[in-house]
């Protein structure tokens, strides 16, 4: 199979294992492309892409925009802060107005769960979900898996991955769990019980509240930020206590008796979930994740654009 089984990228749960393999294989080719002196290919020169960000984003937006430009697509950007959304315009009206400017692909981040799915049913364009509420962030999970495969130099079958941090508010966690399990990896989550969804074990994920045990078990630790901005109430007594129980520092890593891979989707709260010496260590592949993000997003956009017939 050399085509995606889906028409939009709305979430990892809608994909099949073959789709992941195809995306990773294509991303490998694009990673080689973006390391050339001229990092651009003409494939999408007759495609227009709109980046609609109804929620703040820095790296995801930059990464998508760079991926689009490296594929030679025409790009328009939209941020909710400066738009007519504030004047009361509905999502469908906003997007249809943009589509009447002949847009082929919409990359959207939205605060509401399912916004991408909703849009895909009502507008005539390919939709790429760049994060919908606390639901999914598929391209981040794809680039995380791609980076893990690269760091471990193998596929993820039987590999042990622990996701540390705020699982409750994390769309990246859910997408990661779907993607990792699809590839045959074993997944544990680790964090304060208040930040772990109550029914997470129904996804086949184990919960570990002891950070050291979790790190001793895993091959890769994907560490997430505490999302204070999504917390209406307090979930743990203090940041200091969180750091003492769930912050990863050099001392813990030196005491687990093996080298594990450290990842973080960013932005890092240095000194909270990761100390600087860990974030900048050889075990950390955080900057590789950023580079791979462009290649993986190029692959997703290329494979979706391939389905748009002239």
């Amino acid at each position: 199979m050399k085509q995606l089984s889906v028409e939009h990228l709305l979430g990892i749960k809608y994909l099949q294992e073959n789709d992941l393999e195809l995306i990773f294989e294509t991303a490998t080719h694009f990673k080689e492309v973006i390391n050339r002196p001229i990092k651009k290919v003409p494939s999408l020169r007759d495609i227009t892409i709109a980046n609609l960000f109804f929620e703040n984003s820095t790296r995801t937006k930059l990464s998508f925009e760079l991926a689009e430009k490296r594929l030679s697509a025409d790009v328009i950007n939209f941020s909710a802060g400066q738009s007519s959304v504030k004047k009361g315009e509905t999502l469908i009206d906003t997007v249809n107005n943009i589509l009447s400017m002949k847009v082929d692909i919409v990359v959207m981040r939205h605060g509401n769960v399912g916004a991408g799915v909703f849009l895909s049913k009502h507008v005539d364009a390919k939709i790429v979900n760049a994060g919908d509420g606390t639901h999914e962030h598929p391209t981040q999970a794809l680039l995380d898996s791609f980076s893990m495969r690269e760091a471990l130099n193998s596929n993820l079958k039987g590999k042990k991955i622990v996701i540390v941090g705020d699982i409750l508010h994390s769309r990246v966690a859910l997408s990661n769990i779907f993607a990792l399990q699809m590839q045959g990896a074993k997944v544990k989550v680790c964090g304060p019980t208040t930040l772990i969804p109550r029914y997470i074990t129904s996804l086949g994920v184990e919960v570990e509240t002891n950070l050291k045990k979790a790190l001793e078990w895993c091959d890769v630790a994907n560490v997430f930020r505490v999302q204070h901005e999504r917390m209406a109430i307090k979930y743990f007594p203090s940041t200091r206590e969180y750091t003492q129980l769930f912050g990863i520092n050099k001392e813990i890593l030196d005491n687990i008796g093996k080298d594990i891979v450290i990842m973080h989707p960013g932005p890092i709260n240095r000194g909270v979930e990761l100390t600087s010496d860990v974030a900048d260590s050889k075990q950390s592949i955080i900057l590789n994740q950023v580079e791979n993000g462009v290649a993986v997003r190029m692959a997703v956009l290329y494979l979706l654009a391939q389905q748009i017939k002239r």
Binding site: K2, E25, H29, V33, R36, V41, S43, Q306
Partner: protein, 186 residues
């Protein structure tokens, strides 16, 4: 299915040696020349020529890159079947180098056109030449001609040239068949 042999294994071997000698005539010790095999099928020819140049003609430090042109093709989104990319393995720049593009069959010339664009990403070469094993001379869509050719073939559009290499099909052979929707290696 009627099948007309164009070149036998022995004839291919003679032609490869002749092409190698022609390359040496123009590029001497290859100190400023790089060979670029086009993925996927041009790579077998490129690797065979490299082996002959090194083993039979003692050329040293010969540089060979393998170039995938998928993302530069002009038929993206124009075919029912998706385009399949293959790896590019080119760990050097071509700035101020002489480049020889190598492919097995020159048909419409569109692959070579894509390769010329793709090569720009690796620098500005002194010049670019084209070497092909089979030149289907009446099938060109673009003004592209080879500098080195193994054999010129007058095939009609309804026919297909199949190139089999020992590495994949137990023996070297090139033959002509009526065009099918899908052939194993083409």
């Amino acid at each position: 299915m009627s099948r007309k042999t164009l070149l036998t294994s022995k004839e291919i071997d003679i032609i490869l040696h002749r092409l190698a000698c022609q390359l040496i005539e123009n590029h001497n010790d290859f100190s400023n020349t790089v060979l670029i095999g086009l993925q996927p099928r041009g790579t077998y020819l490129a690797q065979r020529l490299k082996k002959i140049l090194i083993e039979d003609y003692q050329i040293e430090n010969l540089k060979l890159g393998l170039l995938d042109i998928t993302f530069y093709r002009d038929d993206f989104r124009r075919k029912d079947e998706p385009l399949e990319a293959t790896p590019t393995k080119n760990d050097f720049l071509i700035e101020n180098k002489k480049v020889v593009i190598i492919d097995d069959v020159l048909y419409s010339g569109r692959s070579v056109r894509a390769a010329l664009t793709a090569l720009q990403a690796f620098g500005r070469p002194v010049n670019i030449e084209l070497l092909v094993l089979i030149d289907r001379r009446f099938s060109r869509h673009l003004p592209i001609q080879p500098n080195y050719r193994g054999r010129q073939v007058d095939a009609i559009n309804e026919e297909k040239v199949v190139v089999n290499w020992e590495e994949t099909h137990s023996k070297d052979e090139i033959y002509l068949i009526p065009k099918q929707p899908k052939i194993d290696n083409q």
